[in-house]
Amino acid sequence: MQAEEAELSAWISQAGGGDQGALRRIYVAESARLFGIALKILRERAAAQDVLQDAFVAVWQRARQFDPARGSARIWLAAIVRHRALDVARSRGRETLSDDPGLGDEVVTDDPVERIAAAADGARLHGCLKGLEEKNRRSIVLAFVDGMSHAQVAEKLDVPLGTVKAWIRRGLLSLRSCMEGTA
């Protein structure tokens, strides 16, 4: 079951007023998307489930702070889940090099960025990502989607750590000027 942005916003505000039914609606509409985001970062169902649960408790507690005038409900929900999942990834010692040879393997077989082009809200980001050098683009996707650290991206792409840091920083700043420039 999917929900419109306006519905999600309304449910968050109802949850902020103590309405558990509203939280349930948010869960039914959004839990698969949010669990998918956490699972992609943590690659382990039990850990992703813990993150999803923590995130919904946080949604319940912080719902009053959500202001639909300041941003999208879908983005707000995804950010809560992503940052929680990233915290867990960090606490697992993400900054050290991984000994998992399969880490992120599925993402380098094609260019996943093509998959966001079709969505109306993805077209601009897609266009700007395509304007980056491929290595910068890949670094950004591996970090955002797979939750990789600089060190993990460096290992994955087999380049020095300092190089990855520079690629990501340069990539982000180019992305920003591209996206603001086409506004």
Partner: protein, 237 residues
């Protein structure tokens, strides 16, 4: 005053906000950014802008159904001290999920087909259907609705109502400020009709069943767990 970790030069601030949203900051720096957000408006704006810019990338994570029990675990953490009947109700709700097998999809389609075949003849009003689920993968009720004859429910796999509770049906259309009570689902039987004049069905309306104390919710919106939920969709003519 910003802590030394948080730069004030615009380009440095942008890069830091971008890396915070990207997720590449280490634990210490990520925590420093988070701690600075409430008091640092430029940082907050920069982070919000990056969340917006990069959001389409969240589509690259394929959706996945969370494990059964995740919702119950959330409810257990947010619910106030359980009322005497609340915990059997919750246990029963969890039990329902186990009882609905994976092969239910075919049964739902068959049930829908039979259900739709009995509609009265004549110029049809806009009709809507939904499958109400106790969980994403556990269909429980087939719903058919139109403005003239109201809302009809057919049980796919009827389960007992927890003792001391009644099932209350609610409608919530897009734009409504809150759910409207449509009546009670009797404890026995498998097909029911509801007069829906209080909240005529429209496309996209949610139908929900919550467990309530005898007599129904005293406050005009669900107080107990919402055990079934579905969304009405218009049937093409």
């Amino acid at each position: 005053m910003s802590p030394p970790d948080i730069p004030s030069a615009p380009e440095e601030l942008e890069a830091l906000a971008g890396e915070y949203v990207l997720g590449t900051l280490d634990a210490r720096l990520a925590e420093a950014v988070r701690a600075a957000l409430p008091a640092n408006a430029p940082l907050r704006e920069a982070v919000a802008a990056w969340e917006r810019r990069l959001d389409p990338l969240t589509r690259l994570a394929p959706p996945a159904d969370p494990p059964a029990g995740a919702w119950e675990a959330i409810l257990a953490r947010i619910a106030p001290a359980p009322a005497p009947v609340a915990s059997p109700a919750r246990r029963r709700a969890a039990g329902w999920q186990h009882l609905f097998g994976a092969g239910l999809a075919g049964a739902v389609v068959a049930g829908l087909a039979v259900f739709l075949a009995v509609r009265p003849a004549g110029p049809p009003p806009e009709r809507y259907v939904a499958v109400m689920q106790s969980d994403r993968a556990a269909p429980a009720w087939v719903v058919e609705a139109d403005r003239e004859s109201g809302i009809r429910l057919a049980a796919v796999n009827r389960q007992a109502v927890p003792e001391g509770r009644v099932m209350q049906l609610w409608g919530l259309a897009p734009g409504d400020r809150g759910p409207t009570s449509l009546g009670f689902v009797p404890a026995d039987g498998s097909r029911f009709s509801f007069d829906a004049r209080a909240r005529p069905p429209v496309d996209g309306m949610l139908v929900e069943i919550s467990l309530e104390p005898p007599g129904g919710s005293p406050i005009g919106r669900p107080t107990g767990p919402v055990v079934f939920i579905g969304r009405l969709e218009r049937v093409a003519r």
